[in-house]
């Protein structure tokens, strides 16, 4: 891990009036050997945790973090946006008589960490009268260490010129196709550098990298008064700039341009029952919405009832409910290289791991955090706690959840050849699902008709609707490991106040029999 000066410069202390604390306050002697790349962190942690303990906390933790974010936007021959942000601060979480309290500040200094710890204690004490069931934390042990997302090239070390040139090259490639009217492209990079310390002795430093490059091609047909779009088929990754370098943008941009133009004259789908062959660039989102969210334990037990919703997978179904066909197996993890939710420890300080969610089609387990594990009789957390920034409360967020490809699964060509009448769907399109995760509707980026085992042409106006369990029980084929690919979401929303989480889903192409397809084309209102 490279050494970054997290608080570098603060000691200069040249503050403007009313804008900060006292960064030059006296440094107490750290009580533990310094495990961090920045020596200023450990003493601040000790000060906060001591203040929390002195205030009556039976448990406390502190997250100090520095979030970097950089984005560039473009359209046609223009760079429309270049922005770079840095956001630093800390949050203290305390448990007092079984009630959580949390407070946060952007001023990372000794006076403020103590004051904020005290404020968190006040909040916890004030809320005790509202506490229905005291919080219980699953044991976790003491963990000390550092970890960084394995990357080949840090996006924040790549020049703006190089990134801008890449975007303009993508746009130029798409715009060179006759009939293309517009192309916009963008890149967004995030680097979270965070330090975690708890009263149990855990001391962790992690640097997480994520990237989200994308483009959209638009073709306007003036005579018809119609426009069609096609987005990139790639998805964000938990990787550095090396992903931008490795993905074949120009091939995707050219194909996207040809697709967008061709869609004006493509056949509008006949609504009804179709067999669907869903590619990884599309199926990840269906997995995310219909398997990822309903297996969140907080949803199942009504803790998300006011916002994200509850779950049809209630706890009485664990171990017995047939969620999918026998070939359907899902594993949750936060350990896969390149996946968006991957880290070594979660924001409770729990080491990450993998575990089965669905086994041979049967729903077998949930996603959990330390304060949830006991709800279902578990004696340890699966490590699913995450907060999007220093000022947000950590809570249960989705790990990477993957559809396991059977070792002897067919190739994509074999699967298509085995399909008599179907639709091959690629890319992330429109998506919507109800608050208990029964009824969903998905679109896509491209839809190709399969007839008699062959791809015969482009379709438009396609969306499919299904019930989650009926859909996964209709899965009769999953391609083998050689077709496996990982896609994901950069901004998965949950919680109040809302927080964003990056999460990936790996899968091979899969087939679903006789799914309801509707035609979304309609006359103008």
């Amino acid at each position: 891990m490279r050494r970054r000066t997290f608080l570098g410069g603060l000691a200069a202390g040249a503050t403007l009036p009313a804008c900060g604390g006292d960064p030059a306050a006296v440094d107490p002697t750290p009580k533990a050997a310094d495990p961090f790349s920045d020596p200023s962190i450990a003493p601040l942690m000790e000060a906060a945790l001591e203040a929390a303990t002195a205030g009556g906390a039976e448990y406390a933790d502190i997250r100090i973090s520095d979030h970097r974010s950089q984005s560039l936007g473009s359209r046609e021959e223009r760079i429309t946006r270049v922005s770079d942000s840095r956001n630093r601060g800390f949050g203290v979480r305390v448990l007092v008589d079984g009630t959580w309290g949390f407070a946060a500040s952007a001023d990372v200094d000794f006076d403020r960490v103590r004051a904020v710890a005290g404020r968190a204690i006040q909040i916890a004490k004030a809320n005790r009268r509202l506490q229905a069931d005291p919080i219980r934390l699953a044991p976790v042990g003491v963990h000390v260490g550092r970890w960084e997302t394995p990357i080949k090239r840090d996006a924040f070390d790549v020049s703006i010129e190089e990134k801008a040139a890449k975007l303009l090259e993508i746009n130029k490639t798409a715009m060179s196709v006759k009939g293309v009217s517009f192309c916009s492209s963008s890149m967004h990079f995030v680097r979270e550098h965070k330090f975690f310390g708890s009263t149990e002795g855990t001391r962790i430093e992690q640097v997480l990298h994520r990237c989200n490059p994308r483009f959209t091609v638009t073709s306007v047909h003036e005579k018809k008064g119609s426009f069609r779009t096609r987005d990139a088929l790639c998805a964000p990754q938990g990787r550095g700039y090396d992903f931008v370098e490795e993905y074949d943008w120009l091939a995707d941009a050219k194909q996207a341009a040809e697709d967008a133009v061709a869609m004006h004259d493509a056949k509008s789908v006949t609504p009804g029952k179709w067999d669907l062959v869903l590619l990884p660039s599309h199926l990840w989102l269906t997995i995310h919405e219909s398997i990822g969210h309903p297996t969140e334990l907080d949803r199942a037990l009504l803790y998300e009832a006011n916002y994200a919703g509850t779950s049809f997978l209630t706890t009485d179904k664990m171990g017995t409910f047939k969620l999918g066909s026998d070939i359907v197996n899902f594993t949750a993890e936060k350990t896969a290289d390149g996946a968006l939710a991957t880290c070594k420890w979660d924001d409770d300080g729990v080491p990450t791991r993998d575990w089965p969610i669905v086994k041979d089609g049967v729903f077998v387990d949930y996603q959990t955090t330390r304060d949830q594990a006991h709800w279902i009789g578990h004696d340890r957390s699966y490590g699913c706690s995450y907060a999007q920034s220093w000022r947000d409360v950590a809570f249960q967020r989705m790990p990477n959840i993957n559809l396991i490809p059977p070792a002897e699964g067919p190739s994509l060509d074999e699967l298509i050849a085995d399909t008599n009448r179907g639709i091959l769907i690629a890319g992330r399109g429109s998506y919507s699902i109800d608050h208990q995760r029964y009824n969903f509707q998905f679109g896509g980026q491209t839809f190709h008709e399969i007839a008699d085992g062959k791809v015969v042409g482009l379709l438009t106006d396609v969306a499919y609707q299904a019930n989650t369990a009926e859909f996964w029980n209709a899965c009769d084929a999953i391609c083998g490991p050689s077709e496996y690919a990982v896609n994901g979401s950069f901004y998965d929303g949950k919680g109040e106040p809302g927080q964003s989480n990056g999460v990936s889903h790996g899968t091979s192409p899969a087939r679903f029999r006789q799914i309801d397809v509707l035609n979304t084309g309609r006359k103008k209102a």
């Binding site: 840095r86 703006i160 916002y307 103008k524």
Partner: protein, 440 residues
């Protein structure tokens, strides 16, 4: 929370430190306090102060922005230098516009912070007690915000705005999971929120929504409560950009070129306007770049009357600059939702819409679900609770087929995200409920 005088010093320092040809400096920050509850008890609660300094530096037509949350001198210099370094490496933008100079803004009073630190916990207890007493489970969320924003430029622009706002929502469910009711409130100040009314509505909806009977999918006369109308109005007004329409990629584009401004799409009585000084939902009298917002009619006399238009697009097309509205007000008749029900022979009443996503931008087709209270109306009365639905429809159609509206209110939203919107319940002649959702 910094003061206007602090803000003036910080932005002046940033501008003075910059060596760029042109520079725009923004400050945004504030304090938020929130409390979340479920199963009739508190779950998480917190408070934080946050702030961001953003600098956009320009050398000729080359621009870039940087931001940070360290307002010390060194922090300010760091942001300025990062913006400048990136701007020098950025390609020239042919659509670059210089920053604004001094502007005049309408007076907006939007800051009325809470004076009672116990108000949120007390209000939440009203919700959890009401649910417990009725043998139900309440979950919910309350948030109190105080915010400031400031923008200034090397060309002499300086704008400052402070605002406050509070929102609370609760979902009350029957313990057997067969009934669910939702209610939300929003206001400029926490003390203005009616927690008793909120709890009573959610408890009543939970109890009356239980044990649904099946209603087949179809297109029905539908009464949409204000929270639903707020969602759909936001979608409609989010699509009124001049550039998108004139580039041929919006519902408001015309085949062969041009736009659909003035085309009769809505009932003549439907009136949508924006006004930064709207008493129930005030917004900043300026946009992020400092453009002045003024009271505007957007839909009137059956048609869309104006588009939002950026400074560049205004210059290119020779038309006036038009900032986006910031808030929306849909005119009222003074009736109540009960009046709308009383005049409905057969139809559906929907409490809340959920998971709305675009399906076809060409026709402004969206899909979504209903949630937490759907009822069948017969002979002017609520006859029975019915199942939830997926819907596929367009806000143009919903508002275009509007039959009547009730008195306007400012509805709250989920997750404290209720917009600055003042809307009525609305009865539309047709709303397409495309399939059944088993969710409760």
């Amino acid at each position: 929370m910094i003061t206007k005088a602090d803000a003036r010093k910080i932005v002046a320092k940033a501008i003075a430190e910059s060596e760029a040809d042109d520079v725009q400096v923004s400050l945004n920050g504030g304090r938020r306090t929130h409390l979340r509850f479920a199963r009739n008890g508190v779950t998480t609660s917190g408070t934080d102060e946050h702030r961001t300094l953003s600098v956009t530096a320009s050398f000729g037509n080359q621009s870039a922005s940087a931001s940070g949350n360290d307002f010390s001198l060194q922090g300010i210099v760091d942001v300025v230098r990062r913006a400048e370094a990136m701007a020098k490496l950025s390609p020239a933008d042919p659509e670059h516009m210089p920053t604004l100079g001094p502007q005049k803004y309408v007076q907006v009073e939007a800051y009325a912070p809470t004076e009672d630190p116990e108000a949120m916990a007390r209000g939440v207890k009203i919700c959890t007690d009401a649910a417990s007493k009725a043998g139900l489970y309440a979950a919910g969320f309350g948030i109190d915000n105080q915010n400031y924003s400031c923008v200034a430029s090397k060309n002499g622009l300086f704008a400052w705005h402070k605002s406050s706002g509070a929102q609370v929502s609760t979902t009350v469910r029957t313990t057997d999971g067969k009934g669910s009711g939702w209610a939300a409130k929003a206001g400029n100040r926490l003390e203005d929120l009616d927690f008793d009314g909120l709890a009573a509505t959610a408890v009543h909806k939970a109890e009356t929504s239980a044990n649904t009977t099946k209603l087949e999918p179809g297109t029905y006369v539908t009464i949409l409560e204000p929270a639903c109308v707020a969602s759909l109005l936001g979608l409609l007004m989010g699509g009124v950009s001049a550039r998108s329409a004139e580039e041929g990629r919006s519902f408001f584009s015309k085949p062969g070129g041009g736009n659909r401004l003035g085309e009769e799409l809505f009932p003549k009585w439907l009136h949508v306007r924006s006004d930064p000084a709207l008493k129930e939902a005030p917004v900043s009298p300026w946009t992020g770049a400092g453009l002045p917002r003024k009271a505007r009619d957007w839909i009137r006399g059956g048609a869309l009357r104006r588009f939002s238009r950026s400074r560049f697009w205004a210059k290119k097309t020779g038309r006036p600059v038009e900032p986006s509205g910031g808030n929306w007000h849909l005119g009222t008749t003074g009736e109540t939702t009960e009046d709308l029900i009383a005049t409905t022979e057969r139809g559906v009443l929907i409490t809340s819409l959920w998971y709305i996503r675009g399906v076809d931008p060409q026709s402004m087709l969206f899909t979504g679900l209903t949630r937490d209270g759907v009822f069948w109306i017969e002979d002017g009365k609520i006859a029975r609770p019915v199942n939830n639905f997926r819907w596929n429809d367009s806000p143009v159609s919903v508002f275009g087929n509007a039959l009547a509206v009730s008195k306007s209110i400012r509805p709250g939203g989920r997750g404290g995200r209720g917009g600055r919107v003042v809307v009525p319940a609305l009865k539309t002649a047709k709303f397409a409920l495309s399939s059944v959702s088993d969710a409760v």
